[in-house]
Symmetry: C2
Subunit: 331 residues, 2 copies
DNA sequence: ATCTGGCGAGAGAGCGCTCTCTCACATCCC
DNA sequence: GGGATGTGAGAGAGCGCTCTCTCGCCAGAT
């Protein structure tokens, strides 16, 4: 025996299929007693609308693709940012009864798959979490006639509304904190320069150093813990007298702290460390990490709102969320 | 202008809709030259099948729900297990051209939503990642006539095929390692006892202690870092002379290490620590953590295979994957 | 030359729903 | 009281696809 159809509900309630449909879709032009009869039939039969049939005629699917474009499986699993953003976006979408279709786009092959799927009209909109500048996906998706929003500013200039946090301003605040606490030789471990967050945070660092007449000392990592440790060792080799380091993200900062410890430097006495992201682990490092907090969950929620707004012809204006300096013991 | 339909493809190729459908679905009974003509029409028009229409008639959706039932948003974001499992499952499903619909079930309200959605026939199968014993979802879903598999053994006895790792055996190996290295007073920080992983790992601990004639010293945490620190302090209060601790997961172990450091205990000299999970962070603790590795990604992949097998009437036999002791410096 | 068998292609029903169009009937105003 | 107006319910088309049934055609057997 199969699931009850609208036809069955209508028959049981003694009305036409059209009227049953009106009740299901909360249309107003139904007399109260008929509405009740239909509702009773729905409850008794345990009727649940067939979404395929509905989509077929409405041309809507009520599902949204969440495309995570990140080649490094390592980073995806390790960086809590992804899960936080995914969770928050899911939560917000569920609240408005939309499904989340999760798509991981790591290889060119899966890129093609995602493109096919999206342009196949399977989803009403796309949320894109893409981190790498070389990523062809943002431009590819923007060409499809599906509403697309991005988590973070796309690296290539492309007409996709996005929500981002103030990376430049945050980095400036972090470095300024180091300057104001009297540090003289402030290095940085920058994130990958093909990522907006990597670029912008380095820009912020440079802005402040320029204004405060200090020399910049730069090493580049790839946002992983290990790369932070490697970059830190490199910086110590380049300038053994450095007394502060601004790190492009917390994960690398954790690696940097480890490298500093191994090199016998005390934090913050010998070297002050400022991270970026305020991940959960930042509270538990030795010493706890001074860092820049940006509201990942809020950013994801704002992205959802932006997309939902797009459906109703709303604003395409980017949203920039502020960052906040969290002072702990490392600087 | 709307997307091309199969009708349009058929017209362009000069064949019937039925034949065009045969080509799209790779049926064999089509003459090569006709197949080519249809294929050309498909390419030229950029035809992509409408999945709603297809689902309507085939009663399949080619999408799978990935239901994550975890009330604590904190744990979800923080524990890399979730993202690793999600990533791996996604990857495996994409390989067989199935969509992943991600559903977070945190509140009773969202439970109802998930149940409605699943029983609405929107998905062909369900993968359930449920951690808490009190969770009503496993039994609820098992009653629906949708194939369901579980990541981890469900806490309540319910007829759902599952894939799990050998928690008892792993814990035994970990504690045995402590016994064999001559530790006398081996405490444990157990995970929450309403979770299978929490229970089974405690069972493993007890098994070995019983056989080796040592007293058990137990504190209970909830798998978060903070709870690990709290439990560790409690254990040190209960038995200041303890010389080893087996911790139910790495996240709590990280907290325990921090608490030990604050209490002035050296690891492993004064107290040996063994964790469980081998998360990425275990390599970077001070000192690096001895722990039990279980293949999360493989477990998720096995779960996908189990579900796909179910579609073809395959085995419902649970799959248990082995754990492996990874000896680092903490024990 | 006729018959049979098999295979490739078309016709057409129907999946479950929405939505427009139409109609029946009640209400209102002049 | 009669026509104009409004309101609630039904009829039926059609969304795009799959799949069964049917038919035409050709090869091989008789």
């Amino acid at each position: 025996m199969r699931r009850p159809t609208l036809e069955a509900v209508a028959a049981r309630a003694g009305v036409s299929r059209a009227t049953a449909s009106r009740v299901v879709n909360n249309q107003t032009t139904v007399a109260p007693h008929i509405r009740d009869a239909v509702q009773r039939a729905i409850d008794e039969l345990g009727y649940i609308p067939n979404s395929a049939a509905r989509s077929l005629v409405t041309q809507r699917t009520d599902s949204i693709a969440l495309v995570v474009s990140e080649p490094g499986t390592r980073v995806f699993s390790e960086d809590p940012m992804f899960s936080t953003a995914i969770r928050s976006a899911s939560y917000e979408l569920e609240a408005v009864n939309k499904q989340v279709v999760l798509m991981l786009a790591s290889s060119p092959k899966s890129h093609a798959r995602v493109e096919r799927y999206i342009s196949g009209g399977h989803v009403d909109g796309v949320m894109l979490i893409s981190m790498h500048g070389a990523d062809p996906l943002p431009s590819a998706l923007s060409r499809l006639r599906v509403p697309v929003v991005s988590y973070g500013r796309p690296a290539v200039p492309v007409d996709i509304p996005f929500v981002d946090n103030d990376n430049v301003g945050g980095a400036e605040a972090g470095v300024r904190h180091l300057v104001e606490s009297g540090r003289r030789r402030i290095a940085t471990i920058a994130g990958p320069q093909d990522m907006i967050a990597g670029q912008d945070r380095l820009t912020g660092y440079r802005n402040v150093l320029r204004d405060s007449d200090r020399r910049s000392i730069v090493a580049v990592g790839d946002f992983t813990r290990e790369s932070g440790a490697i970059a830190m060792r490199q910086l110590l080799g380049d300038d053994p007298a450095l007394d502060a380091v601004f790190v492009g993200n917390d994960l690398m900062a954790v690696g940097a702290l480890q490298a500093l410890r191994q090199a016998g430097r005390r934090v913050p006495d010998d070297v002050a460390v400022v991270g970026f992201d305020d991940i959960e682990a930042a509270k538990y490092t030795e010493p706890p990490l001074t860092t820049l907090r940006h509201p990942i969950a809020e950013q994801a929620a704002a992205m959802v709102r932006l997309l939902l707004g797009l459906f109703e012809g709303g604003s395409r204006e980017p949203v920039i969320l502020p960052t906040e300096l969290v002072v702990r013991e490392s600087a």
